[in-house]
């Protein structure tokens, strides 16, 4: 029986790992991720979850243990934040290079120095090129559903890649919301038992990940690129199937809101996407033609869908909870790159907001929208990157 519970996104991530019948969890605590692994520890110790919980001594070891367990043939889960994710960096490459379908919750937190425990995307976006699929969630329900979906996608033979399911620290991680925990039998029907491309098998001994000469290395990389392209096709299909089964879906790669015949489209990720919807409703009431696109999947990047959205728009405003120092926000860069080959492309205004947990409310987004519309009318973007609410 499906069940509605009111809980934090971190606990919900634990419920999702349980519902996905994860067999090995290896994790190390860091704020604001801690309550994910505490919840799982409870589930394992009470016997509600039939899993081994490895209390490792670092995040590097957490990912190494997940790699070992996944290679030895079981579904694995871990969770981390910021510095823990950065410490894992090397092992993230190893997981994707080994084509192991590990799923990890990343509770987004700003990177130090100076120390911050509040959210932005500087942790997960720094891992952009590690070969992990990256999902960004807007509410607790989406956290649950995306973790379940992620296993299905990662364990598809056309993909066999790991995925991060990102949720912003505190904004989601410690905020209570009602969430529907679907019927276990229905989840089992959607998510078959663990599958991977290979396994450590004493009856079929192979040397995995040994030295590869220049003669072969590029082909292995190309296969990861192909798998990412396959994931791009698959994610919307799986999301639709999920919708049919459970009555909940998220727009596949992009959660689009009133984008049809919009002059301005506001592009965000994560919880800013929910605020953007409120802003759009308010602006529409004023007669302004504004829509919102929440990039739900950042890797693989939805290039084609971005082009489709851009087709009718005159300006796109990106709001990045991240800065690539010496350049601009990643979303701004990636969307510009996606539009490059379009003949008649919209203007693009990049906004940096919400770093280190500063609030980005619908009001902030309305201001961003109005500024962008002004530039649209003028036919020129006055400033390529605007730092929102900056003390100068």
């Amino acid at each position: 029986m499906a069940q509605i519970i009111i809980d934090t996104a971190n606990h919900i991530a634990g419920y999702a790992a349980k519902a996905a019948r994860v067999r090995v969890v290896a994790a190390y605590p860091i704020t604001p991720q801690t309550t994910v692994v505490e919840k799982i520890a409870e589930f394992v110790e009470s016997g509600e979850m039939d899993a081994e919980y490895i209390r490792v001594e670092s995040e590097h070891s957490a990912m190494a243990a997940c790699i070992g367990a996944a290679a030895a043939g079981v579904r694995t889960f871990t969770a981390t934040s910021a510095h823990g994710l950065a410490l894992m960096h090397e092992a993230l490459h190893w997981a994707s290079g080994s084509r192991l379908p590990i799923v990890m919750a990343v509770v987004n937190r700003a990177m130090g120095a100076p120390w911050s425990i509040w959210p932005d995307f500087s942790d997960s976006l720094s891992q952009r090129d590690t070969g992990w699929i990256q999902f960004y969630c807007a509410d607790n329900q989406e956290v649950f559903d995306t973790i379940i979906q992620a296993y299905r996608i990662c364990e598809d033979e056309r993909v066999f890649l790991p995925a991060m399911v990102c949720l912003e620290g505190f904004i989601l991680s410690h905020t209570y919301m009602p969430v529907k925990i679907h019927d276990q039998e229905e989840i089992d029907a959607f998510l078959p038992p663990y599958r991977s491309g290979w396994i450590l098998d004493v009856n079929n001994p192979f040397s995995h990940a040994n030295l590869v000469s220049p003669e072969w290395y590029m082909e292995f990389r190309y296969m990861i690129q192909e798998a990412m392209e396959n994931a791009k096709q698959l994610i919307p299909e799986i999301d639709k199937e999920y919708g049919r089964r459970f009555g909940l879906q998220y727009g596949g790669l992009i959660d689009k809101y009133k984008c049809e015949n919009a002059d301005l489209i506001i592009c965000t990720m994560g919880t800013m996407g929910s605020e953007a919807k409120i802003a759009v409703d308010n602006l529409r009431k004023e007669g302004l033609k504004v829509g919102a696109a929440r990039i739900r999947v950042y890797r693989p990047f939805p290039v084609e869908e971005i082009r489709n959205i851009a087709e009718e728009a005159s300006i796109i405003a990106t709001i990045d909870r991240h800065i690539s120092f010496g350049m601009e926000g990643f979303l701004a860069s990636e969307i510009k790159a996606s539009l490059y080959h379009m003949e008649d492309k919209p203007l693009l205004a990049g906004f940096i907001a919400g770093l280190g947990g500063r609030d980005v409310t619908f009001k902030t987004i309305e201001e961003i929208a109005k500024k962008s519309l002004k530039w649209m009318k003028a036919g020129r973007v006055e400033k390529e990157t605007v730092w929102v609410d900056l003390r100068e």
């Binding site: 067999r23 090995v24 290896a26 039939d50 899993a51 081994e52 490895i54 209390r55 490792v56 001594e57 670092s58 590097h60 070891s61 957490a62 190494a64 243990a65 997940c66 790699i67 070992g68 367990a69 996944a70 290679a71 030895a72 043939g73 079981v74 694995t76 090397e90 092992a91 190893w94 450590l200 098998d201 004493v202 079929n204 001994p205 192979f206 040397s207 995995h208 990940a209 040994n210 030295l211 590869v212 000469s213 072969w216």
Partner: protein, 308 residues
């Protein structure tokens, strides 16, 4: 106890491996497989063995092998052991096989964590006393005075005592070994296989390339390491320390050969002064005083832990 005649004929280190001629670690590898058979899953971090196994798409190992990040052997074995446990496949032996750098330096944390978590596996450190893979730089296991490419005038610090660090984790089995004593090594491995929990075996494995001696002398150098007392063969089983033959006959200093004989055979020690050699001799004698105390019955259960 198996004798050398009873060693299985099967070879799981296959022909065509890429070790240097006279490589001590590759002898130890061959013995490892003879002792454990092929119901083994092995984890190998970056080290000479990355090269020894041979490049993709070939392998010279007849067991499944997970190549892994340099510092992550312990944690990876924890993951594999957990997966095998939950799959009900605990008859498979998980083996971490790492160099001294991957053990005493960069991999110490992950190994310590795995041991403290009582991971069910055998960890073997094959100690060639330098970073062989990357061209023979010093490690925490390089002995005092030895030339390496990053200690061109000889290392100024002493070797880390890794087996006793592992004993301090109160794991059920710690042992030292050397491929020059194959029966001792094979029996230790077979014993380790039967014990549940973390088993640690530290193998001094002479390396002609790094130690600068003739490739025909590997076995002899290993014997001299033991007979001079530079390397002691012992095991610590549930906290009980015991010297193994021939080391058990060497507590009396007069039975030990002077360390000079061992040092003189290797060009990595060529530049040592008389004072250096004297210092090394004194340190070895002090180590043996310590082993004598550990081996005495009053000491072993007090300093280490007993089986309950």
């Amino acid at each position: 106890m198996v004798t050398i005649k009873e060693f299985p004929k099967e070879e799981y280190l296959l022909k065509g491996h890429a070790a240097c001629a006279g490589c001590g670690p590759s002898i130890a590898l061959r013995l490892l497989f003879k002792a454990l058979g092929n119901k083994v899953i092995m984890v190998v971090p970056a080290c000479c063995t990355t090269v020894i196994q041979g490049p993709y798409p070939y392998t010279s190992f007849a067991v499944p092998l997970q190549n892994m990040l340099f510092e992550a052997t312990g944690a990876t074995c924890s993951g594999i052991a957990a997966a095998l446990k939950i799959r009900g496949l605990e008859d498979i032996t998980v083996v971490g096989w790492a160099g001294d750098g991957g053990t005493v330096d960069i991999g110490l944390q992950a190994l310590s964590g795995a041991a403290e978590r009582e991971t069910n596996f055998i960890y073997i450190c094959y100690d060639n006393e330098a970073y062989g893979n990357t061209g023979l730089q010093r490690s925490g296991a390089t002995p005092y005075g030895a030339w390496t490419t990053t200690t061109p005038t000889g290392k100024k610090e002493r070797k880390k005592d890794m087996p006793l660090i592992m004993a301090a984790h109160k794991i059920p089995y710690v042992a030292t070994a050397c491929p020059s004593y194959p029966v001792d090594f094979v029996n230790k491995l077979r014993k380790a296989k039967e014990i549940k929990g973390t088993k640690y075996i530290h193998v001094l494995a002479p390396c002609p390339t790094g130690w600068r001696y003739d490739t025909s002398k590997t076995v002899e150098i290993g014997r001299l390491a033991v007979h001079t007392g530079i390397w002691a063969l012992y095991e610590i089983e549930y906290g009980r320390f015991r010297l193994n033959p021939p080391s058990d006959r060497l507590i009396d200093k007069s039975k030990r050969k002077p360390v000079r004989e061992y040092l003189a055979m290797q060009d990595r020690f060529r530049h040592l002064t008389e004072a250096d050699i004297e210092k090394i001799q004194q340190w070895v004698d002090m180590d043996w005083e310590y082993y004598r105390k550990l081996a005495s019955s009053e000491c072993s259960d007090l300093t280490l832990h007993g089986k309950i």
